[in-house]
């Protein structure tokens, strides 16, 4: 508020502050299988977002009374590191983090065959190391890969991406600045194989007639993310295949 009116978020050529076009994703870098102890893990950089996800399980449920007789218990903890944002965030889980943990779990659960592992738990941990808007979406994208890396049977990968409205225009993949100054932000998670929207949230003000085009743009963004997810997953297996080959030639 104290600052004078900020520079425009989109210039007259339709270019955003970070040089992107309105319907362009931030640069994504994804790596699968990077943590030693976890059964599955993945790391994502989306713009300045840096997020780690790890999966433990299926494993015995603690406390035991939480075990479900007909399926695995999927648990999820979304957490932001104290140094991930401008003002230090208390490491204790905030109300926002508790809500996000819930919606992320509900975004991923439709993709997992939990019925294959009754009485077990699948525990998912998402740590945001650096945040710049859209961390729940990047968190879902990376967590879905960690689940796949853990070898858990899934219907599809879940890709997530936000669409929003800034300065009257519908845009893809908002940064923190765009989210705060913009009119609306709508995170969406999507399983392309089933045309299934597994997470949908929005805050802001959006005329009803713009709703469909915003959903469609977010879905398009998810499809792009999905391609990159698949490439990252393949890259991991190609790397381990190479490693096996090398070992074989050494012997």
């Amino acid at each position: 508020m104290s600052q004078k009116k900020q520079e425009k978020l989109i210039d007259e050529n339709g270019v955003r502050l970070d040089g992107r076009k309105v319907n362009e994703l931030r640069g994504l870098k994804i790596e699968v299988g990077i943590l030693g102890n976890a059964d599955g893990s993945a790391y994502i950089e989306q713009g300045k977002n840096k997020i780690l996800a790890a999966v433990y399980g299926p494993r015995e449920v603690h406390p035991k009374h939480l075990a479900l007789p007909d399926r695995a218990l999927l648990r999820c903890r979304y957490h932001m590191a104290p140094f991930s944002v401008q003002e230090r965030k208390s490491p204790a889980p905030s109300r926002r983090e508790m809500e996000l943990s819930k919606v992320i779990r509900e975004a991923l659960e439709p993709s997992v065959f939990t019925e294959y592992y009754p009485r077990t738990s699948i525990d998912l941990f998402i740590e945001v190391l650096q945040a710049d808007g859209g961390t729940r979406c990047a968190g879902i994208t990376v967590a879905s890969l960690a689940l796949a890396d853990a070898g858990i049977p899934m219907r599809d990968l879940v890709a997530a991406c936000a669409a929003g409205k800034i300065e009257g225009q519908i845009v893809l993949d908002l940064t923190d600045v765009e989210d705060k100054a913009g009119e609306a932000d709508m995170p969406l998670a999507y399983m392309p194989n089933a045309n299934a929207i597994t997470l949908l949230q929005m805050d802001g003000m959006l005329p009803g007639e713009e709703f469909e085009s915003m959903v469609n743009l977010a879905v398009e963004g998810c499809k792009q993310v999905y391609q990159l997810q698949k490439e990252a997953l393949k890259a991991k297996y190609m790397a381990s295949k190479e490693a096996v080959k090398e070992e074989a030639t050494e012997e």
Binding site: E106, P110, I197, D203, L206, F211
Partner: protein, 265 residues
């Protein structure tokens, strides 16, 4: 009496009926249960309202106190929404710190009020950067029979419309309360509509047993000008894009209908 879980046979029946566009309580897919709204039953609170949505019952109290503004909005009052799933409301509610369900409920209600800019927070500043008024909206669930979100959002709106701001003057940096009241300035009226997906069909206002068998849930909050101001998907299932667009159309009509019950112009 207080069987938490619907019998399996009953659940099956509910799902079968919905597949044919019918419901066990004879409502249509986009019909609400009977809604009763009473405002101003707690005299101690600056505003209050009770909403009965079928057997679901929610009481909302609004308190206004002085406090500090947020750093990024030094000239604005503060809105705080909290929800309590009190143990007397359901055999499944337990005492203790708020769990993810009550946090999610509060945050959905909060988002609707906040994003539609319903409360003119800039009028609630006493001394920029130091003292502002904090509007506490406390949602108190008294009986849980499904669709707490819509009942809570409606009760919160009714309570805010009923809220009286005490007159005050500032003497040596202290806020002194003077006799008399003025209504809390409210410029928008957000209303939430919640859908449940059962057997691949959408219904509005799920009651408890429908909630127990639903695959997924979607809440849309719409403001008085027909703008969507909050969305929240919940539950373990998913929606197709077509279902979401269908829901948006129904939400536009339903929110208008519900708003007329609270906002008398």
């Amino acid at each position: 009496m207080s069987s938490i879980m619907a019998a399996r046979i009953k659940k099956k029946r509910i799902a079968q009926l919905i597949a044919h566009g019918k419901r066990l309580d004879e409502r249509g897919p986009s019909d609400y249960r009977e809604i009763q709204i009473e405002a101003g039953l707690i005299e101690r609170a600056e505003g209050s309202a009770r909403v009965r949505l079928g057997k679901t019952e929610v009481l909302v109290g609004v308190k206004i106190e002085t406090g500090e503004p947020f750093l990024d909005t030094p000239n604005e009052g503060v809105l705080t929404v909290n929800a309590e799933l009190v143990p007397l409301a359901s055999p499944t509610f337990e005492a203790g710190p708020p769990d993810e369900n009550s946090i999610e409920l509060a945050r959905i209600v909060d988002r609707g009020i906040r994003e539609s800019k319903a409360i003119a927070l800039e009028t609630l500043c006493v001394e920029p950067g130091k003292t502002v008024f904090v509007v506490f909206v406390d949602v108190y669930v008294l009986n849980h029979d499904g669709n707490l979100i819509d009942a809570s959002a409606l009760a919160s709106l009714a309570a805010l419309l009923n809220t009286k701001m005490f007159n005050y003057e500032v003497k040596e940096g202290e806020v002194k309360i003077k006799p008399g009241y003025t209504p809390l300035p409210l410029r928008n009226h957000p209303v939430a509509v919640t859908f449940a997906k059962i057997n691949d069909k959408l219904i509005v206002d799920p009651w408890l047993e429908e909630e127990q068998i639903m695959d997924a849930r979607l809440t849309m909050t719409v403001d008085k000008d027909g703008k969507i101001c909050a969305l929240q998907k919940g539950g373990y299932g998913y929606f197709t894009t077509q279902q979401i667009f269908e829901a948006a159309k129904i939400a536009m009509e339903k929110t208008e209908e519900l708003r007329k019950l609270v906002v008398k112009e």
